[in-house]
């Protein structure tokens, strides 16, 4: 088992100390941790605070996710866990045009999520991935008229990108 496989296994462990060890190692890897991009997003819903914190720390430095993680990230974008959903959406945005297949999901989040941060991030991600279909435009236009000034501002920026 190589080092990456070992970390992947630890991150999926039922033992919280092992998940924490993996998350902390990934936190120190910067963009090299992207091989477990989707797993790190899933770890944002971990029961253990320290695992969640390290997962977020790793995700902040991760950069764009690999194309192989896009489908998993699209699925995680509608996670019931707000932190996991937020980070899945963020990584889809960082993937830019590689995540164009996630536009419909992001429109759904933008239009229907009860989490304000997720909606704002979805508006941002739609701009980053450059989605220009009519459903995206309509959702962004509606968001641009939102009473949430940040959402409105981001949506407007995405419309003009």
């Amino acid at each position: 088992m190589d080092a990456k496989q070992r970390i992947q296994t630890l991150l999926a462990s039922s033992v919280s100390a092992e998940r924490l060890e993996a998350a902390e190692q990934l936190c120190q890897m910067g963009q090299d941790a992207s091989f477990v991009a989707a797993e790190l997003v899933a770890a944002c819903a971990d029961d253990e605070e320290d695992v969640r914190a390290s997962a977020v720390g790793a995700l902040e430095e991760l950069g764009p996710p690999p194309v192989s993680a896009i489908d998993s990230l699209i699925a995680l974008a509608t996670s019931n866990d707000p932190l996991a959903a937020y980070w899945a959406i963020t990584l889809l945005g960082r993937a830019e045009t590689n995540a164009s297949g996630g536009a419909a999901t992001l429109v759904d989040v933008l239009s229907n999520s009860s989490d304000g941060s997720a909606r704002q991030r979805a508006a941002w991600a739609l701009g980053k991935i450059g989605a220009k279909d009519s459903a995206t435009i309509a959702a962004l236009q509606q968001a641009a008229a939102s009473g949430d000034p940040r959402l409105a501002r981001i949506a407007q920026q995405s419309l003009t990108q």
Partner: protein, 398 residues
């Protein structure tokens, strides 16, 4: 507190950025078309006053001087409002207030940067004694995911404590813990050698459940803070992921009225919205410059997620300077995320000395050991403990 400030600033020049900041804060992106909206908290009263005045004085010409006076009055009120909008720090862990610190100790004067270069670390000697008595060493340090897990690693805490002891005042980013004992425990570790550091900590902030806290850790024998000037800046238009944590400090000297006083603005930008956040920080900087008539030294520092070429509007503020140029500030030494910024015409207390504190070299760590401490390196700058008069020149080449 009686203190002398010999610096002055053009009033007309000072008001424009404040208005823009307040406009940015409260407008909600309404654009120029909505510029005179009476509902806005700051610009609104100006408009309302003018409307009422006009209704009550229909026969009097509404000339430029009257409008200017109304705007000036409201700007004056707005300046006070900005100060009031800084949320008071109610954290129970505030450790110090004016007058509670020990007196400055005499001792061997060895600038921290020299000690660091030699790898000196005599734990039996108070850290104060290794620093120049007439200078303040101010640092910023993003301690990546600083929480329970990191505090449970003695070798990491040991390095962190040694790092702090090299400086008089450290702005820390990324405290991530629900446990309120993290900072008290860290301060105990720092002070284990007899040092007398204290701290002030901001509230947990962030857009998600994963929040962060800003902290100032400072040598109480070297600096003190004004307990009435500590708080988190407000951001009604939600421009910043984590609003800056500000506090006003003063160097401890034998002549307090001549001591260097300054605002610290601790910040950590969202890596996914760097251009927008750096632009908002330009407004925040200008607001802090104008928040008190007796203070024009503002030191904005932290993890900007931006290098010297990405300063945007922050870098176009007249006379704005930043210390990190041509150096990397992350542990992998391939990014320049962290910096210390100030006006080079007002903050002439800067001595020109700065550095990136290489914890690998200083403490003989491997790259992996250094990464276990943080993915960032501390960045520091040196300032005189004495307030400098303003001169119309820069001390940092731009």
């Amino acid at each position: 507190m009686a203190r002398r400030k010999t610096k002055s600033r053009s009033k007309s020049r000072s008001r424009i950025p404040l208005l823009l900041w307040l406009f940015t804060l409260f407008s909600g992106g309404g654009g120029v078309g909505g510029y005179l909206n009476p509902d806005w908290p700051i610009i609104g009263p100006i408009v309302t006053s003018l409307i009422h005045w006009r209704q009550e004085n229909p026969d009097v010409a509404l000339d430029g001087n009257l409008i200017r006076q109304a705007v000036n009055d409201e700007i004056h009120n707005a300046t006070n409002a900005v100060v009031n909008q800084i949320r008071p720090n109610t954290n129970p862990y505030e450790q110090t207030s004016y007058g509670q610190n020990a007196s400055i100790q005499n001792g061997q004067v060895v600038p921290a940067q020299y000690a660091a270069a030699r790898g000196q670390n005599n734990s039996s000697q108070h850290s104060t004694n290794r620093r120049p008595i007439d200078k303040l060493l101010i640092a910023t340090f993003n301690i990546q995911v600083f929480g329970k897990s990191k505090m449970a690693k003695p070798e990491v805490v040991d390095v962190l404590a040694k790092v702090v002891r090299h400086f008089d005042l450290v702005a820390i980013q990324e405290v991530r813990a629900q446990d309120d004992n993290i900072l008290p425990d860290f301060i105990r570790a720092i002070n284990a050698d007899g040092s007398q550091y204290g701290f002030i900590i901001g509230p947990r902030i962030g857009r998600t459940s994963s929040t962060e806290q800003y902290v100032y850790v400072f040598d109480q024998t070297r600096v003190e803070y004004d307990p009435n000037a500590v708080g988190t800046m407000t951001d009604p238009s939600d421009m910043l992921h984590r609003e800056p944590f500000v506090a006003r400090f003063r160097a401890r000297t034998g002549s307090p009225q001549h001591a260097f006083t300054f605002w610290m603005v601790n910040t950590h930008t969202d890596p996914d919205e760097v251009p927008q956040e750096v632009a908002a920080l330009a407004d925040a900087f200008e607001v802090m410059q104008r928040s008190r008539k007796d203070e024009d030294d503002v030191i904005l520092l932290g993890d900007l997620n931006a290098d010297e070429t990405q300063m945007g509007r922050l870098g176009t503020i007249p006379a704005m300077g930043w210390v990190v140029r041509g150096a990397m500030t992350n542990t992998r030494k391939n990014k320049a995320y962290d910096n210390i910024l100030f006006s080079t015409t007002t903050t002439r207390e800067f001595t020109g000395r700065w550095g990136v504190f290489d914890i690998e070299k200083t403490f003989g760590l491997t790259r992996q050991q250094a990464l276990a401490v943080s993915d960032h390196l501390p960045v520091w700058a040196e300032f005189s403990v004495w307030e400098a008069p303003t001169a119309n020149r820069s001390v940092v080449p731009r």
